[in-house]
């Protein structure tokens, strides 16, 4: 496959960026999207140019490190992470535009790499349960109904890649936030801090400069783990309960 790539290049956080056009030839349809970028970087290295900076780690679709806006779609046209996206999803001769996640809360560090520290700070604000250390309790010591366990598990699939923010027309992080809140709200271990958690996490979300949710649903469509929009409803329910004073 021969492709034309329009890629966002930005030397550093304070530099002006621009889209630059590159050509790649003889790309195998079985390559992953990131392997295709590796090929391009080899070319750039050979030509003595600065290679394109992008994030990746496990390349198995489970760590949440990679993430690119590919022709206007977070993680590209398939429901998966960028590393698990294959070139067979594109056609020969296609022009592909590659941009970093765009949100003020995710500042660009270099080229396609953004700083997602805002997510970590939201987790630090309340996305945890406080337990005393010691020997682990028996796994069946605290029974969890199957329905709650399933929903908690589904929400816990969030890998914090940030695709929800990237796809959201409001640049809101409510799907991420909803996943974390629902994950803990469905489990007995999450109950003691449930009401305080949601208030602290929403406050941190707003302080980071993310937009407000208008329930568009672009987040769930972009989510590589297919986390449903209904986790945001649980977030809203908990927030409303907490603000009524039942902390």
């Amino acid at each position: 496959m021969n492709l034309t790539l329009r890629i966002w290049r930005q030397a550093g956080p304070r530099h002006q960026g621009e889209l630059r056009t590159y050509k790649v030839k003889d790309i195998s349809p079985d390559m992953s999207f990131l392997e295709m970028l590796d090929v391009l970087n080899e070319q750039l290295n050979a030509a003595g140019e600065e290679p394109i900076a992008f994030d990746s780690d496990c390349r198995e679709g489970i760590c949440g490190t990679c993430g690119l806006m590919i022709s206007g779609e977070a993680h590209g046209p398939e429901k998966t992470t960028t590393c698990q996206l294959h070139m067979r999803s594109f056609s020969d001769g296609e022009v592909i535009t590659i941009e970093p996640w765009r949100a003020n809360a995710f500042p660009v560090i270099k080229d396609l790499v953004v700083d997602r520290g805002a997510f970590d700070r939201i987790i630090q604000a309340g996305g945890y349960i406080s337990v005393n250390t010691g020997s682990a309790p028996d796994a069946h010591a605290t029974p969890v109904p199957k329905r709650n366990a399933d929903r908690a598990f589904q929400a816990a699939e969030c890998i914090q890649c940030g695709a929800c923010v990237a796809a959201c027309p409001n640049a809101s992080a409510m799907l991420f936030l909803g996943s974390k809140v629902t994950h803990l709200a469905e489990l007995p271990q999450g109950q003691p801090e449930r009401m305080a958690r949601v208030v602290k996490m929403v406050d941190q979300h707003d302080a980071e400069g993310f937009g407000g949710c208008t329930n568009v649903g672009a987040c769930s469509q972009a989510c590589p783990k297919g986390i449903p929009q209904d986790v945001i409803s649980t977030l809203n329910f908990d927030l409303r309960t907490a603000l009524r004073g039942n902390r």
Partner: protein, 212 residues
């Protein structure tokens, strides 16, 4: 946003029901219109209930608009560098610009039927027409561009409701499972069809000569 929106949905259902009285003839429609003003007498003064409803609606409108523009401004601030490719922003355009269009329509609608009572029909003017709700209704929708404005407004309303009703339920935290989420989506579409469709029946009946 959600609560004020649901106030509007409740009002729209009542308003639509009242409009459908036009199908029962001039007398039924005008008696209904007058009854709205005498409702609750003598505890309430003449037109008292109507004013209570109006105050609730005005407060809701201010709240709804304030929340909408606040979210709009936040969205603009949260992503100052836009995408070169993609249509992320289009997803909210229907709701936001559609809402602005509905607001403009509301101003026209109130001037037309409530505040000034404008008859756009050159063949039917004067106090006999504007002080007779049924005659003003029929005279208005016999004018093609008037019907067109209302049809466009109802399309905008249907689009607004199909997302808005679902969105309100989601905001209120009533869609915490896959099943209730699907029901809320369905209710959004159903309310859009029922309300916009119900409002369109009298004007279209006038255009096709079923009400004269």
């Amino acid at each position: 946003m959600a609560v004020t929106g649901l106030v509007f949905v409740g009002y729209l259902l009542l308003h639509m029901y009242g409009n459908l009285k036009a199908l029962s003839g001039e007398q039924a429609f005008n008696v209904y219109a007058e009854h709205l003003r005498t409702f609750g007498e003598p505890i309430l003064p003449y037109g008292g209930l109507l004013w209570i409803v109006r105050v609730v609606l005005i407060v809701s409108l201010v709240g709804h608009g304030h929340a909408a523009f606040a979210l709009w401004a936040r969205a603009g601030n949260a992503r100052r560098t836009k995408y070169a490719a993609g249509k992320a922003a289009l997803r909210t355009a229907w709701m936001r610009w559609g809402g602005v269009f509905l607001l403009l329509f509301l101003v026209w609608h109130l001037l037309h039927f409530t505040v000034v009572k404008i008859s756009p029909n050159p063949d039917a003017t004067g106090p006999d027409v504007v002080n007779n709700p049924h005659r003003l209704l029929v005279a208005s929708f016999q004018v093609w561009w008037m019907t067109l404005i209302y049809v466009l407004a109802m399309i905008a309303l249907a689009l607004h409701l199909s997302h808005g009703v679902f969105s309100a339920m989601q905001t209120l935290g009533w869609t915490n499972s896959a099943a209730s989420y699907r029901r809320a989506k369905l209710l959004g579409h159903a309310s859009a069809v029922v309300i916009a469709g119900g409002f369109l029946i009298p004007p279209l009946a006038i255009v096709f000569g079923l009400i004269q």
